[in-house]
């Protein structure tokens, strides 16, 4: 009877399989990989941002630059700079991306590293 209860990997649900395959230290943190958590992550950052904006009014900068006259100036700089960089990525990729063998070098070079290392464990 006991043998009948042993499940093979194929019998496990996706969640059970993920737990079985994960490193023991990673098991309590598997929620980090779920889409539902990643989608909600924005709210954690947003709450942090709002708190720091509020505190920024109570503790203003000691040595402000001229652009710091705008409320939440560093927040604006962080948000707009980041967005600008990411928005530049598409046209830049179009402009600068070439096939991996463009310079005539083997694009699968990563694997070259492995045989040279001599693991001790």
């Amino acid at each position: 009877m006991a043998n009948a209860e042993i499940k093979t990997m194929e019998d496990l649900t996706l969640e059970e399989r993920e737990r079985a395959e994960a490193h023991p230290l990673a098991v309590p943190f598997l929620f980090l990989g779920r889409k539902s958590f990643q989608d909600k992550f924005i709210y954690i950052a947003l709450i942090g941002l709002l708190i720091t904006i509020g505190l920024g009014f109570i503790y203003p900068l000691h040595h402000p630059a001229p652009y710091d006259v705008m409320p939440a100036s560093w927040g604006w700089i962080g948000f707009l700079s980041y967005s600008f960089l990411v928005l530049c990525a598409k046209p830049l990729f179009k402009l600068l991306a070439r096939p991996e063998s463009y310079y005539g070098e083997d694009p699968n070079m990563d694997l070259d590293h492995i045989p040279e290392e001599q693991p001790h464990d």
Partner: protein, 576 residues
């Protein structure tokens, strides 16, 4: 001789250990040396330095004297941190039983330490070149594709050395043969050449490509070692020779900005980190340009913490490459399930470079930005803040997210080997210690070249720094939700090195082909010309020729010798 041994440059001890490693077949003893030598370096520095500038190890060669040892408040922090990271690198590379790597790593580290303790430009040049040559095997160990990158790296660094030597000779001659390495400045004779040499090594814009070319192709251990020394030696040399030069403010600002655009589209995570390294060097160069005591302290502190957290990030990517076999962002994702400890260490490195409060760069980068604002360089300070958001993008989010989180790549691998985990753990502990508000950052500040009167944990600094970082995270999360954030894609991203790797190569090939054609066409013409010239010379110089007609038989020899002598005089005048 005894004076020389008592004042031995600590770098020489490590170089000696590297030379012993080269002939030591027993890997256990070699590994012991790799870790013990930098520890011996720390002991040697602390024994030699006693709050006063130490100058010694003077060697006379002909009429030239070399000051091989100078430890002062500026070089001290570089020396210590080079030794500390040497120990970490040694632990990280314990699994790799390779004689060349061990030997190169020690000689390379020793020459970098030797360079920062060099008292004159000629000694600096010697260590500069040893560092260049000894680091190449670390690149070549990266496999077949690393060979060409290693050759390019060597050529560029040898050129940097030649520029340094030329500049040093011009500078020394103008100073009556005094080659002391102090403040040089751009108005000094040879100043621009020396700046060029240092600019190549610390990745000035358009001179930076060797870094992104060679570092990602080096061996796993090699990249970690390489990331620590070359560029920081150059930063030290700049801080010593060109502090307060305005042009460096603008060069540094440009260095902080342009790499972030490349990093955002790069797929190779070790190449992303190479761009990130370039970007961090920009803050340091900018601080050197400002040159005030606050800025110089910021530079020294930033060098110290950057060496640690950048090594940590390269170590974590090295561990991933070691286990997974690739480091392309498009092939990774979800690795936190298999490598949770590596993930945590990478996150500590990411938080440190992004300058989160309680993490390393928070207590140093702000010094540079504050110094820039205090000197009323507001546009530059804005650029540095823009670049800070960029740092958050490429190193704070992209590296950990696409490697360990993002979509699950389905790869289930083992956690990194124990030695890698120990090295990353120690580096993480240092990142936290250097930013710890109670005794941590104060210890770091006590090593700085000037008395540090700066408190990083003011309410306004903590709040506004968090504001910038949270805003960047919100932007990331929003752009991901809106599916605007670009996916990682395999590609070769061309940079300025396209000019010599593609355009330059094509031009050389074309010139070669043209030369071959011209050669074929002009072969007859050249043969006729050479034959005619030979006959004419024979008619003039031979014993039966014009010069000998009616003259003593030795006259042609005398005239030839006179001509050579005149040429020699001409060359001598031209050279002096």
């Amino acid at each position: 001789m005894i004076e020389l041994l008592l004042n031995l440059n600590p770098g020489l001890i490590i170089i000696l250990a590297g030379m012993i490693c080269a002939v030591l077949p027993a890997s256990q003893i070699r590994k012991l040396l790799v870790i013990a030598a930098p520890i011996a370096g720390i002991v040697s520095i602390s024994t030699l330095y006693t709050d006063q500038e130490v100058i010694g190890g003077i060697i006379e060669v002909g009429r030239q004297s070399f000051t091989t040892l100078r430890i002062d408040s500026l070089s001290l922090i570089w020396g210590y941190i080079f030794c500390v990271v040497g120990v970490l690198n040694g632990i990280f590379g314990l699994h790799e039983k390779c004689q060349i790597t061990d030997s190169s790593a020690l000689i390379y580290m020793g020459s970098a330490i030797g360079g920062v303790f060099a008292g004159d430009l000629l000694t600096l040049f010697l260590f500069w070149e040893i560092a260049a040559v000894s680091s190449v095997p670390l690149i070549w160990k990266g496999g077949e594709r690393a060979y060409a990158a290693g050759v390019r790296y060597l050529a560029i660094h040898i050129f940097s050395g030649v520029a340094l030597l030329a500049g040093a000779i011009i500078y020394g001659r103008a100073n009556g043969g005094d080659f002391t390495f102090g403040h040089i400045g751009l108005n000094a004779p040879g100043g621009w050449l020396i700046l060029l040499a240092m600019g190549i090594k610390c990745g000035f814009p358009l001179l930076h490509n060797w870094m992104q070319d060679a570092y990602p192709k080096a061996s796993i251990t090699g990249t970690v070692i390489l990331s620590a020394f070359t560029t920081k030696l150059a930063i030290y040399a700049l801080a010593r020779g060109f502090a307060g030069e305005d042009i460096l403010i603008y060069i540094g600002a440009a260095m902080t900005v342009f790499p972030v655009f490349f990093a955002v589209i790069e797929n190779d995570m070790r190449r992303v980190l190479s761009y990130s390294l370039n970007n961090q060097l920009g803050y340091m160069v900018c601080g050197i340009g400002v040159g005030t005591s606050l800025a110089m302290n910021g530079v020294a502190g930033q060098v110290a913490v950057h060496i640690i957290f950048k090594s940590l990030l390269f170590m974590s990517m090295g561990a991933v490459l070691y286990r997974v076999g690739t480091i392309k962002g498009s092939e990774l994702g979800g690795l936190f399930r298999s490598m949770p400890l590596t993930t945590v260490f990478c996150l500590v490195g990411a938080a440190s470079i992004a300058a989160f409060p309680l993490f390393a760069a928070f207590v140093t980068k702000a010094m540079i930005i504050s110094a820039v604002i205090k000197e009323h360089h507001y546009v530059i300070s804005f650029i540095l803040l823009f670049a800070s958001a960029g740092v958050m993008e490429h190193s704070g989010i992209k590296i950990p997210y696409f490697t360990f989180f993002s979509h699950d790549s389905g790869r289930r691998v083992e956690e990194a080997p124990w030695n890698m985990l120990v090295a990353m753990g120690l580096a993480s502990a240092l990142c936290l210690f250097f930013a710890f508000p109670f005794g941590g950052y104060q210890f770091l500040y006590s090593l700085m070249p000037y008395a540090a009167d700066y408190d990083p944990y003011t309410a306004d600094h903590v709040i506004f720094q968090l504001q910038l970082l949270f805003a960047a995270i919100v932007a990331f999360a929003l752009l991901k939700r809106l599916r605007i954030y670009p996916a990682e894609r395999r590609a070769e991203i061309i940079d300025f090195d396209w000019t010599y790797r593609k355009l330059g190569l094509s031009v050389v090939k074309w010139l070669g082909a043209m030369w071959m054609r011209l050669n074929a066409v002009s072969a007859n013409m050249r043969d006729r010309f050479a034959g005619s010239l030979g006959r004419k010379l024979q008619q003039v110089f031979s014993p039966a020729g014009t010069f000998s007609a009616g003259s003593p038989v030795n006259l042609p020899y005398v005239l030839t010798a006179a001509m050579l002598f005149i040429c020699l005089i001409g060359v001598y005048i031209g050279a002096s």
